[in-house]
């Protein structure tokens, strides 16, 4: 719903994400802010922002797969992991540069996902989630049991920092920019997909696969596509992670990580790219501020002790998610559009 007084004068205008000058200015300001962030804030926030950017890539992929395509996925961390491992192997064993290793890591994750998704997308219902759980446990099993020279087994894999024209990307700031570039491209691409025929097909298949088939949409193909795109995104996120930490180990990508990615999608709102961004920001900022404020809090009120102070984090995050599930199962993005709409239509209720 547009603000009063704004009418689409062309399809381009009608189509574009940015319809008002105000929105354009906001976007530009936001991008500028992201660009100069490392210069403004301390290393702690730069690091938080970096992990947020990586998480955004992974979660946006999950949003496309789950939020748009309706394919619930509890293996996103495993796909992230397969991307991370592929990137690490390509970079450390075959000497690929990061700009090739990361996208190839995405492809590897998509291929790994494809093996599991193939069986489930043919069936009506939420069977994909079962195969993704299987993917999660088989990923773990394979990494640990394949010959050590392939994926490092229980030893993990380490890799050299990324390099661009001889410039070594190993400082917190440079890694932030590396992740920023990838995240911006991937998010922009996600918006592109969401607005294209593919994005519509995903939603159509999610909402009504019967009618979708009648529209000439190949339901199986579309589901598989949503899933492939989702795992590709996870793989890109994994590749970034590999260069961020420069060490890849199997226990960095557990089922519990996958569950948290889903939680971010729930909180942000199902079926909205912006929602995925909001979900990541909300969950991470709650978690990180708890963790940042915790030590100070412990120092101010020492008798409480760290164990008590930090343990409240679990309750709080659980509570936030519960609150969303109970009061706003469609997520923050939905709430935001309601507020926006009612404000624009005021004094008429919508």
């Amino acid at each position: 719903m547009d603000p009063a007084g704004v009418f689409a004068t062309s399809f381009a205008r009608d189509q574009s994400l940015i319809r008002t000058r105000k929105q354009l200015i906001c976007l530009i300001l936001f991008m500028v802010l992201l660009a100069v962030l490392p210069l403004l804030v301390g290393p702690r926030l730069v690091a938080v922002a970096t992990s947020a950017l990586i998480t955004v890539v992974v979660t946006v992929g999950l949003q496309i797969c789950t939020g748009y395509g309706g394919q619930i996925n509890l293996g996103q961390a495993a796909f992230m992991g397969s991307g991370a491992y592929a990137t690490a192997v390509l970079a450390s064993k075959f000497g690929f540069p990061f700009w090739a290793a990361i996208p190839l890591g995405g492809c590897a994750a998509a291929a790994f996902g494809f093996i599991f998704g193939l069986s489930a997308v043919r069936i009506k219902g939420f069977y994909l989630v079962l195969t993704t759980i299987a993917a999660q446990s088989l990923f773990h099993f394979l990494v640990l049991n394949l010959p050590q020279s392939w994926l490092g087994g229980s030893n993990g894999l380490s890799l050299e920092p990324a390099q661009l024209f001889g410039y070594v990307i190993d400082t917190d700031r440079s890694i932030y920019y590396l992740c920023l570039v990838f995240a911006v491209v991937m998010v922009a691409g996600a918006f592109g997909i969401a607005r294209s025929r593919h994005g519509r097909d995903f939603v159509a298949v999610r909402d009504d696969d019967v009618a979708s088939g009648m529209m000439g949409i190949d339901v199986v193909r579309t589901k598989a596509m949503a899933f492939l795109v989702g795992s590709f995104y996870a793989g890109i996120g994994g590749g970034l992670w590999a260069y961020y930490v420069r060490f890849v180990a199997v226990d960095q990508f557990t089922l519990f990580h996958s569950i948290w990615f889903v939680a971010m999608v729930i909180v942000g709102g199902i079926g909205s790219i912006t929602g995925a961004l909001i979900g990541v920001v909300v969950i991470l900022s709650i978690r990180e501020s708890f963790i940042s404020l915790g030590p100070t809090f412990v120092q101010v009120v020492p008798w409480l002790g760290g164990d008590v102070v930090f343990a409240t984090l679990n309750i709080f995050l659980g509570g936030v998610i519960a609150a969303f599930l109970i009061f706003e199962p469609r997520g923050l993005m939905h709430r935001w559009s309601i507020i926006k709409r009612s404000y624009r239509l005021w004094p008429f209720s919508y």
């Binding site: 789950t66 309706g70 619930i72 509890l74 599991f116 069986s119 489930a120 043919r122 069936i123 009506k124 939420f126 069977y127 989630v129 079962l130 195969t131 759980i133 299987a134 446990s137 088989l138 773990h140 099993f141 640990l144 049991n145 999610r206 019967v210 089922l255 569950i259 948290w260 889903v262 939680a263 999608v265 729930i266 199902i270 343990a311 679990n314 309750i315 995050l317 659980g318 509570g319 998610i321 519960a322 969303f324 599930l325 109970i326 199962p329 469609r330």
Partner: protein, 294 residues
């Protein structure tokens, strides 16, 4: 030979335990078509309640265990009331997502209620194994398996023979039809959650008797998924057979393949079975075949 027989029998009994956990899962699925991913957390919750009643408070078994079942029933009911009764009319997709959120919430809740420590679980079933010739069967699994079979057949009879059970089966088949027949979907779903929670607690008792309880126990919720799938998510009697099949395969793989590859393929094997089922026959062995009407 007797070794092989032993692995087979023990595998079958562990499979029956999976079947019991899967039963809780299936009961909820039948009523609302929801995959409850918090099933493992229900098991952990049930386990902690039993620990709390018997070990912590010190109630005798004959009071503590029934009380734990009552607590589990109330807990299941509360979950349904707080989350799922509000979601009536929302898509199944939304409800499945809610169970994933529930998983995180329950973990936090259990941590706060019972603390992070590993707790000793009371010895409900005697430790001495049942010995038949060379074959050696853990008593908790043996008695548990018997209980599971009785419960499974009982529930199957309930859902297929008794009036209230048949009503719930009607709900399971089609919500709209059920409503038009004047059956309360809400009540049926609430009952399913109560039953699912109670079955999880029973599962916890058999699983954990004489061992320890902590978060790690929730993994059995995932191990039960392949069993539920093999049974087609619908058939309660079928899940017994499915459990036995998965359990035997897993037991034999663990005994004969694990040592050869020097890894733990046995633990992931149920998931491999799951993938195979999805490729070959996703409706499971006993799933209701329904024609998708447009």
């Amino acid at each position: 030979m007797s070794e092989f027989l032993n692995y087979t029998i023990n595998g079958a009994l562990i499979g029956l335990l999976y079947a019991l956990i899967a039963m809780g899962f299936i009961v909820i699925y039948r009523a609302s078509k929801v995959f409850n991913f918090a099933q493992g957390e229900l098991v952990v919750f049930g386990g902690f309640v039993v620990w709390w009643m018997i070990t912590s408070i010190g109630l005798p078994y004959w009071i503590g265990i029934p009380l734990a079942f009552v607590a589990a029933a109330l807990f299941g009911f509360a979950i349904e009331r707080i989350f799922f009764s509000r979601l009536v009319g929302e898509s199944v997709f939304a409800m499945v997502m809610v169970t994933i959120g529930l998983l995180i919430l329950l973990r936090g809740l259990i941590l706060v209620l019972f603390g992070p420590q590993v707790r000793p679980f009371p010895i409900i079933f005697p430790l001495q194994p049942v010995i038949i010739g060379d074959i050696l069967i853990p008593r908790s699994l043996f008695i548990g398996g018997m209980i599971t079979i009785v419960v499974g057949l009982g529930l199957s009879w309930f859902f297929n023979r008794t009036r209230p059970g048949l009503r719930m089966t009607a709900v399971a088949e089609d919500h709209q039809v059920a409503v038009s027949m004047g059956i309360s979907v809400k009540r049926s779903v609430a009952f399913a959650w109560i039953l699912g929670s109670v079955l999880s607690t029973l599962g916890a008792i058999i699983f954990l008797s004489g061992k320890s309880v902590s978060f790690l126990a929730s993994e059995i919720g995932l191990a039960a998924l392949p069993v539920a799938l093999l049974a087609g998510f619908e058939s309660i009697a079928g899940v017994l057979l499915a459990g036995i099949i998965v359990g035997i395969i897993q037991g034999l793989v663990m005994a004969y393949v694990d040592p050869v590859i020097g890894g733990s393929v046995g633990n992931v094997f149920p998931f491999i079975i799951m993938l195979v089922i999805l490729f070959i026959r996703p409706t499971g062995m006993f799933g209701w075949k329904m024609v998708e009407r447009v």
